[in-house]
Amino acid sequence: MVRLARRLDVSAARAKLERFGAQRFEPAWLSLWAVAIGRPAQAPRAWLMAAEHTPRALLWPGALPAQSTDAEDGTALLDGGDCPSTAEFERWWLWERLARPRRWPLRVQPQTRCAVQLPLWLGYRDGRQVRLIVLSGLSGEALGALKPAVLAALRENWLCSPMRR
């Protein structure tokens, strides 16, 4: 398990989420599956990260910025779901390159597949309904594409929580 380093601290996340209209926020980790993009026997050029509930893969350039898994105990850990197949990762990589036709020689390296935890900030916007804003803990950008995975994981956590039982 590789836990990616949280680059957006509390004050920066607070400022970002304020701009999106959030009134409350909390940190979280989302578990995903990563696979390297590159040539065999060479250092990975990028990583694709995805899980069962993500509609498409996230792309991370260069090496994964790992940190100790001991940090930030008590932060919500969200399960993104099962690992997609190698074929799914390969297909995602194909569509990425068709959308921006570059880097054709680089291939998915299935043997590098590993579990990762992506740092997130979850913002809650109250109104007639509570809206969720998912912010990357790496770049600070809002990641709408991760909402289905985060919502599914929040529901799963709630179903398993002692309060629910």
Binding site: R14, L17, E18, R19, F20, G21, A22, Q23, R24, F25, E26, A46, T54, P55, R56, L58, L59, W60, P61, G62, E90, W93, L94, W95, E96, R97, L98, A99, R100, P101, R102, R103, W104, R107, L122, G123, Y124, D126, Q129, V130, R131, L132, S136, L138, S139, E141, A142, L143, G144, A145, K147, P148, L151, L154, R155, W158
Partner: protein, 541 residues
């Protein structure tokens, strides 16, 4: 001055080769900072903004808009005045759905929502429409080459097609932010320099231009006529034009691809915002050059070329200093190549993803798909070339591309809005909406009604027919609505989110970024309208 000298040729070659070299040299570095998901940003926002504008300020604008302004003055701005409103609708309604769905091709959303037939039909319409418009985009640099060299324009079309298809097949020019910025400056330099040269050649300077424009009604931008046959009335621009631009920027894969490949909603919104703010002033600039050219031709007793698309390139070649002519013509060339590259890429990507990998060969390896995408590029290059031969007969190129789009855009937007806004509509209704929406546009195109209204007619017919026919078939399933129904609004999910929100830390004051962005665009629209109204009042005494 007066001709395209060998110095200009040298500048042109150095510029085009230089842009290609910078793209090849720095494209890789850019990928790791700008393109890739979650990457850190090191490029300033203003450079990204100019890059976005460079993709919008294609050779079509540079060549077509002055000819358009020469012919009809600033009234043609009615076509573009609605762009800020269109961008606000896109940012609020379409982009969040597209982003959440995590799609690569926009037509995938239609398959998930309505089934394979709707996806294929919409993708086919895109291929036909964008292929035809690419023919016009190909014609533009070919015309410039023809003006510069004196060669037959059909020969230069074939030459340009071979060059464009070749480099697209070989991987294309990497869209590097900084080359786009240079491009933008060169095109604007050309525009501003032409204004300075024209004004200095007129005895009364700016006074002559404004006097000529006012006397010939060229500053009458806002026409409140309710007559639907008035092509550029403010209502045609607001009712038909806004539909056209929502559809163009929101449902045309070649345009929305930038948003779909943006890592975040904010980045996708940024490119739309920049277009929303800058497209109107840019169009005003190039139309105003057309007005100035009209004053210039009248004062110097010159006869305008029969093909008004040649007007501005001819002026650049005849009036600009040696070397600068080469630079500006090279800028037009590079802009056209960049537009052609992205158009051919999106045509080829949709062919492979929405048709070949969907129906012909779903399980091939990547090399096979790459090979197919290259053949698709060649096919679309040939298709565009054939159409480019006729593009010269369509009048100003900038109007030609918009007219072509107007045959398809209303029905296409209608089916996307049905998918997103109506949870009762289904595949049967969507197909009926597209087919009858197109039929209605065809019927209206045979009347004297302004072509801008075609977009609105297509939209309304596809929405009404689509919804009505949907009632004759079962409602869509929960899975089919998954992309357009926000899961967080389900009652059980609301309870979970409320519980988490109550326990979470307080952020601070409320500031809705997206809402402010959209309000800004609406304010900008009214400011532009007020400015043009003021100019019109002044011109009419």
């Amino acid at each position: 001055m007066g001709a395209f000298t060998w110095w200009d040729t040298v500048v042109l070659i150095i510029y085009v080769v230089g842009i290609a070299w910078v793209g090849a040299r720095f494209g890789k570095d850019q990928e790791s900072t700008q393109d890739y998901f979650l990457g850190g940003r090191k490029i300033p926002g203003w450079a990204i903004g100019l890059s976005v504008m460079a993709t919008q300020a294609s050779a079509i604008t540079f060549i077509g808009a002055p000819g358009w302004g020469f012919e009809g003055g600033l009234e043609r701005l009615a076509t573009f005045i609605n762009v800020p409103l269109a961008m606000a609708v896109l940012i609020l309604v379409l982009v969040p759905v597209f982003h959440r769905a995590g799609i690569y091709s926009i037509y995938e959303l239609l398959e998930r929502r309505f089934g394979a037939l709707t996806r294929s039909l919409a993708a086919l319409l895109f291929l036909i429409a964008r292929g035809l418009a690419t023919g016009v985009v190909l014609y533009a640099p070919a015309l410039v080459l023809s003006v510069v060299t004196g060669w037959n324009v059909n020969l230069t079309i074939v030459l340009m097609a071979v060059i464009a298809v070749s480099y697209t097949v070989l991987g294309g020019i990497s869209a590097v932010i900084w080359t786009d910025v240079i491009q933008m400056f060169v095109l604007w330099l050309g525009a501003i320099l032409s204004m300075v040269l024209m004004v200095s050649s007129l005895p009364g300077g700016w006074g002559d231009v404004f006097e000529f424009g006012a006397a010939n009604g060229m500053f009458n931008t806002i026409d409140f006529s309710l007559d639907p046959t008035v092509t550029y009335s403010i209502w045609a621009g607001l009712i038909g034009g806004v539909v056209m631009h929502i559809a163009y920027f929101g449902t045309d894969q070649s345009q929305i691809q930038r948003v779909l490949t943006s890592p975040t909603i904010a980045e996708g919104q940024r490119s739309l915002l920049i277009g929303g703010y800058l497209l109107v002033p840019q169009m005003l600039l190039f139309l105003f050059i057309g007005v100035m050219l009209a004053a210039y031709y009248q004062q110097h007793g010159l006869t305008a070329p029969e093909n008004l698309n040649e007007l501005f390139p001819r002026y650049v070649v005849e009036a600009f200093p040696v070397g600068i002519t080469g630079l500006v013509i090279a800028g037009v060339f590079a802009a056209a190549m960049s537009s052609l590259d992205s158009a051919l890429n999106s045509l080829s990507a949709v062919t492979v993803r929405d048709f070949y990998a969907r129906y012909v060969n779903a399980d091939a390896d990547e090399r096979h798909y790459l090979k197919v995408s290259r053949w698709a590029t060649i096919f679309w290059g040939l298709y565009a070339t054939v159409f480019a031969f006729f593009a010269g007969n369509l009048g100003p190129v900038i109007e030609a591309v918009n007219r072509i789009g107007s045959w398809f855009y209303g029905a296409l937007l209608g089916v996307f809005l049905l998918a997103i806004l109506s949870h009762r509509s289904n595949g049967r209704g969507a197909v009926a909406g597209i087919v009858l929406g197109m039929a209605a546009v065809w019927a209206v195109s045979n009347t004297d009604v302004s072509w801008l209204y075609q977009n609105f007619v297509g939209l309304v017919v596809s929405l009404v027919v689509g919804y009505g026919v949907s009632l004759t078939a079962p409602a869509p399933s929960r899975e089919q609505l998954a992309d357009v129904v926000i899961e967080e609004t389900a009652p059980d999910m609301q309870a979970i989110l409320k519980g988490r929100s109550d326990a979470a830390e307080i952020v601070g004051r409320d500031a809705r970024l997206t809402r402010w962005r959209c309000i800004g665009l609406v304010v900008w629209f009214f400011m532009a309208l007020a400015l043009l109204g003021g100019l019109q009042l002044w011109a009419n005494g």
